[in-house]
């Protein structure tokens, strides 16, 4: 599989997160596909209008790197916070490793500290 095909697979994954249409994941080679689908469905329940913007996406050999900005209105329990109705934004950075077109490894850091501060679970620290 080519670098460009790996990038397309990552864009499909983000499309599923952005729209909630997890059927697009059926064409992708992902371990634990059902768990991922359930995770996206739970996320869309907490943030039904969530939007994901891909700010950076590039690749070399078997890895794709990306940075995304996410926003959404908090409507259901998330990170221990009950529905706040707050519109919050955060970013995430991810590196995915592919083996023959299959997503086999993921390193991801999302700005959970910022999410928790915006949801008022913890006080403002840093920045």
């Amino acid at each position: 599989m080519s670098i460009e095909e790996n990038k397309v697979a990552i864009r499909r994954l983000f499309e599923a997160i952005s729209t909630g249409n997890t059927d697009v994941l059926n064409e992708l080679l992902i371990p634990n596909r059902e768990a991922l689908k359930n995770g996206i469905t739970a996320f869309r329940a907490a943030f039904p209008n969530a939007k994901l913007i891909v700010e950076q996406l590039f690749a070399e050999d078997d890895k794709v790197v990306c940075h995304v900005a996410v926003s959404g209105k908090h409507q259901k329990e998330w990170l221990g916070a009950t529905s706040t109705g707050k519109e919050i934004t955060w970013t995430a950075s991810l590196i995915t490793r592919f083996d023959n077109g299959k997503m086999v490894e993921l390193w991801a850091i999302r700005d959970e500290l910022s999410m928790m501060q915006q949801l008022c679970i913890i006080p403002a620290i840093g920045g």
Partner: protein, 141 residues
């Protein structure tokens, strides 16, 4: 600059500037109008001078700060880095008195370079883990 040249510049940023505190090297490695796109804890400073001052301040609190580069991925004018930061908590940080504890956290950063210089960075560090290790927030399940 080639992808390999850009990777070498980013490696020098971590190994010489971040790890050894050679902030004057930034004049060579980073554009004066450098733009950061960070997260809640480290923020998004603008300008090489602000970065220099930030690194000097960080080294006064965390003098043995060491970034280990675990992976580098480059394409076009971009370089991605996955790293692990380790340090001893020796000065007041985020209002917490020095504990002498070893702190460790992970980060993923993406750099855009032009003419061999770092122009922009997008990153996430595991800020939640840092504030938990400092005892500011209880670890959650």
């Amino acid at each position: 600059m080639s992808v390999e040249g850009n990777k070498a510049t980013v490696r020098r940023f971590y190994e010489e500037v971040m790890n050894k505190g050679k902030v004057d090297l930034l004049d060579e490695l980073m554009d004066a109008e450098f733009d950061d796109h960070g997260e809640a804890l480290f923020g998004s400073p603008h300008g090489r001078e602000v970065i220099k001052q930030g690194i000097i301040a960080t080294h006064s609190i965390l003098p043995d700060l060491h970034v280990t580069i675990e992976d580098m991925i480059g394409e076009g004018d971009m370089v991605g880095v996955r790293g692990t930061m380790r340090c001893t908590h020796k000065g007041e940080w985020l209002g917490v008195d020095p504990t002498g504890n070893e702190l460790t956290w992970k980060g993923i950063a993406m750099f855009r370079l032009a003419n061999g210089r770092i122009m922009q960075r997008w990153f996430n560090s595991d800020g939640l883990s840092i504030v938990q290790q400092l005892g500011l927030v209880s670890p959650m399940g």
